[in-house]
Amino acid sequence: MGDSAKRVRAQSKICGRLNLIFVTVGNDFRAFDRLLKKMDEIAPSLPEKVLVQKGYSTYCPKHTEYFDFVPMNLATEYLLKSRLVVSHAGIGTIILCKQHGIPLLILPRRKKHEEHMNDHQLEVAQALEKRKDGNIHVLYEEDRLREKVLEILGEKGRGRTVEDMGRLNLIHAVREFLQTTLR
């Protein structure tokens, strides 16, 4: 775990505020630099802090904190602290965001850019887009990433607020207390 991840973790213990845009590209051994570069470029102009899980990507963001991998429980914690998750069209992230009602913007990894072995992520993205689920947003090219992120965060009722997250944050706070107290 990198220093930045430790820092975020320490902060997250202090309060349960939703102040993150969590970017995650999963565990595939291929890089997904296309998303990371664009995210890095637009991060300074976004209203929330961006935290990046870069996996095996070669690009290291200059304007955001990042780490390559953290254990699942910590990744889930970041997810739960996010107003918006931006990710590849990976199943793990999609399930977790769906389960917890977290708005998700997906940009599928493409075969033509050697981001994945085939275009299954494209199919997943298209299938989800058809469903018109208010919580899942799809982009196919990264050029409009900033507009899309701002649109989701700005839309009324979209982009989570601390109010939406109350129950989970309370459960988290109580669990954390019990775990430290009842060791």
Binding site: C15, V162, G166, L170
Partner: protein, 151 residues
């Protein structure tokens, strides 16, 4: 596997109970029991102790205290959790003073600007004190925390 370490969940029936049940997931790794009032709206489950409602009849506080003592001796809770109402006051004081339990109090989401009587009573004793409105933080001391609310 569930830990044998016990948690006592203490609340009056109705909204306070609904709030505890909303957070049941937080207690899933531990064994726990409920302590509530004997009312029509009370939970019908095996893990529930009931005492008479001393907010209706103050004299029943005496038998209530004995009942709390009996339950705590039997169950030996390590942590008590409550969302109110006043049933938390004798339970928390007995728990803290006689059994050295750790105490978690979650102020009910009905308290937006004004602290509850129970909240004021138990605040000094609690180890984790949570409020459900940011506007309530300034009414309590630095120990109070806000991480969100249920409504």
């Amino acid at each position: 596997m569930k830990s044998h370490k016990k948690i006592g969940l203490i609340c009056s029936p109705g909204g306070h109970l609904v709030e505890v049940l909303q957070l049941e997931e937080a207690f899933k790794d531990y064994s726990f029991f409920f302590l509530t009032y004997r009312e029509k709206a009370t939970l019908n489950r095996k893990d529930t102790y009931c005492m008479s409602n001393f907010s209706k009849n103050p004299f029943s506080l005496i038998t209530g205290i004995l009942k709390i003592l009996y339950i705590f001796l039997k169950e030996r809770p390590r942590v008590l959790f409550s969302t109110g109402a006043e049933i938390a006051i004798p339970s928390f004081y007995i728990g803290k003073v006689l059994f050295r339990t750790k105490l978690i109090y979650l102020e009910c989401s009905a308290q937006v600007y004004t602290p509850s009587l129970t909240g004021r009573w138990v605040y000094p004793l609690t180890d984790l004190f949570l409020v459900q409105w940011e506007t309530l933080l300034s009414e309590y001391g630095p120990k109070a925390k806000y991480v969100g609310g249920l409504i």
